[in-house]
Symmetry: C2
């Protein structure tokens, strides 16, 4: 198999951290997003959405979408469980991963994509007003997350899960998006210090 990915983009990073937590190594190929390699005919044939990451299996199956790739590896190597264990826990991990995606990672990416000069071609047209509309969403969600983390160690409960990975990537992507993590989010800061110290955070 081969993983097509890109070093600096948030979604490929989610997959790299996931693989690191699982102790899985996969041969990979870098797709140069700045050079728009994801729009080449070869890559478009793999993924018509022209996005990384993409996992190509030896039988020719192509799996795109970060969470689809992570779920594939979760099934191949269930330990440690990063999507929860049992119907209720799996549902709660999915809920929290979705919340971290929809309310945090997507909002941060919207701010970045609609303001950063480097995104002018990839995000066309940029809508600065939409970036502005996302800023208070990030702040509002982080306040809710801070209240939740008052009583639990990780985003989805007592165990590190894929929802923490999405959160880590989102928090760190706030820097290129020029968003600041408020000082008073003490639970978010405690949680972030803890998960960013895991070896997988270097992936």
């Amino acid at each position: 198999m081969k993983l097509y990915e890109s070093g600096r983009a948030p979604n490929p990073r989610r997959v790299r951290i996931f693989l690191s937590e699982k102790g899985i190594t996969v041969p990979s190929e870098q797709i140069d997003l700045a050079a728009q390699e994801q729009k080449s005919p070869e890559f478009t044939a793999l993924n018509p959405m022209q996005r990384v990451p993409v996992l190509a299996l030896d039988d020719g199956t192509v799996i795109a979408e970060s969470m689809a790739i992570c779920r594939y590896f979760e099934r191949l190597r269930p330990e440690p469980p990063l999507f929860g264990r049992g119907p209720k826990e799996e549902a709660l991990v999915e809920m929290w991963n979705r919340r971290m995606e929809l309310n945090l990672l997507s909002a941060v990416m919207n701010v970045f994509r609609h303001t950063h000069p480097a995104m002018k071609e990839m995000e066309s047209p940029q809508v600065p007003e939409w970036a502005e509309a996302n800023k208070p969403r990030v702040a509002d969600f982080l306040a809710i997350l801070d209240a939740e983390l008052e009583n639990q160690l990780f985003v989805a409960g007592d165990h590190f899960t894929v929802a923490d990975i999405t959160g880590l990537v989102a928090i760190e992507f706030m820097r290129p998006a020029r968003l600041e993590l408020a000082e008073d989010l003490s639970n978010v800061r405690r949680w972030y210090a803890q998960i960013s110290a895991r070896p997988s955070a270097k992936a």
Copy 2:
């Protein structure tokens, strides 16, 4: 258990169709979005994101997010499988469900939320330019989907899955968003005619 939902919103509908396909009946309570009931202290205590649907279990566990609720029921009643069967098929269903969500349903909802007068308070501020930016995305994705459906019966392959449910809800939400399904999308039209004729589509 009890399902908190709302008759006309797209996400609760995804859960209703899913439950219908599974043959599961769940007691439900309507949340009046027009009256902003989702922002009441009682509902906010259930879901701080103030969104429907929400599934409350008898032990006090609260599961928000449509796909988390659907996954919970998939684990309780695995037949018929709507999230795929086996690692590869499950990954492909997840990939297609994500594509239908991110590139179709979300884009259609963005058009609706940022243009419709009834959304003025719920989507504040409305950004009409962002609605405009989403219109060609809907069209571009439908063209890609049409090409895929040339060779397969359902969105994720040979079987009806949750990705078809997301697609059905997205296509039907194009009407309130005032988006038209292009005449030349013959494969999308064939697929839509087929899935909208299933009894679950009335849910």
